[in-house]
């Protein structure tokens, strides 16, 4: 394992950059969660649309 010895000043600098990266990552994680929810909703809507269309198809296939 690579261990880098940082001085006190360097630790503060690293801390500031890590805070920035953490903020961006947390934001992206929240957005990814929302995207996942949206994806599930789209699947549900597709199923709903299929269910809505299927009785019509059956009616067409019925013999006169």
């Amino acid at each position: 394992m690579l261990v880098v010895a940082l001085s006190s000043s360097e630790q503060y600098v690293a801390g500031a950059y890590v805070v920035f990266l953490a903020l961006v990552l947390v934001y992206l994680a929240i957005m990814a969660t929302k995207l996942g929810r949206l994806e599930r909703e789209v699947v549900e809507l597709a199923e709903l649309a299929e269910r809505r269309d299927s009785p019509k198809d059956e009616r067409v296939k019925e013999p006169a």
Binding site: V19, M31, K34, V42, L45
Partner: protein, 228 residues
């Protein structure tokens, strides 16, 4: 761009003679602060466009811009505190105008989301939020202009203009790359969130239509986010 900027900070940017390596926080703290403040002002301009056109998309743009600026402002306060602790030995200095004014601006904008959430009617929400965004957006340059005009002797907070002009050209170059990178990140995240909100609105509209209740104006309940 930001990766390039941070690589330059590590490899190319000189170590400050006065502050040492701690000065390198400047390349993340200041671009974030500038982009956040410009974002607050841009949010005000977009709110003004909403009031002029009554087009909900401008309200959405204003909301997303202010929302992301608040996220960046949190980063500014934390990185600023780290820099203050390393340089001055305190996490926050209450008699420093720059720090206090930034905190006031942040707290002012922290009330934006609760304000939106407290109003149920979407039209009223957009209108009130726009008035807030315009007023607060005008407050930002006034406050920071006043600090600039204040005597430099009353401040210990470093001034961006003096830090970039009195330092070697490499400092200005790395700062400029960081600033452009931060602005591009901000624009990308704005577009990302805007696209997400538009898709969510369309999915909800489609769901209502498939469920057969087209007349239902709002099936989502109360929300701070604008409803398209």
């Amino acid at each position: 761009m930001l990766v390039a900027a941070f690589t330059l900070v590590l490899t190319y940017a000189p170590v400050d003679a006065d502050q040492g390596v701690i000065q390198k926080i400047f390349y993340v703290h200041v671009p974030m602060a500038i982009v956040a403040l410009v974002g607050f002002m841009a949010g005000g301009v977009m709110a003004l466009m909403y009031l002029r056109t009554r087009d909900r998309r401008w309200d959405m743009r204003s909301y997303v811009t202010i929302h992301l600026s608040i996220v960046l402002a949190v980063g500014v306060l934390i990185t600023g505190s780290i820099w203050a602790r390393a340089s001055w030995g305190h996490w926050f200095v209450w008699d420093e105008p720059m720090l206090v004014v930034f905190l006031i601006v942040f707290l002012l904008y922290a009330t934006y989301q609760p304000l939106r959430f407290s109003i149920e009617d979407p039209d009223k929400q957009a209108r009130y939020a726009s008035v807030f965004a315009i007023t607060a957006g005008a407050f930002v340059p006034l406050c920071f202009g006043a600090i600039r005009m204040a005597e430099a002797t009353t401040q210990t907070h470093p001034q961006t203009a003096t830090m970039t002009t009195s330092s070697p050209a490499s400092v200005s170059l790395v700062f400029l790359v960081s600033l452009i990178g931060m602005a591009l990140l901000f624009i990308t995240l704005c577009k990302y969130e805007m696209a997400s909100k538009n898709v969510t609105a369309n999915v909800r509209r489609l769901r209502r239509r498939l469920a057969g209740d087209d007349d239902q104006v709002s099936a989502t309940g109360r929300s701070a986010a604008p409803q398209l």
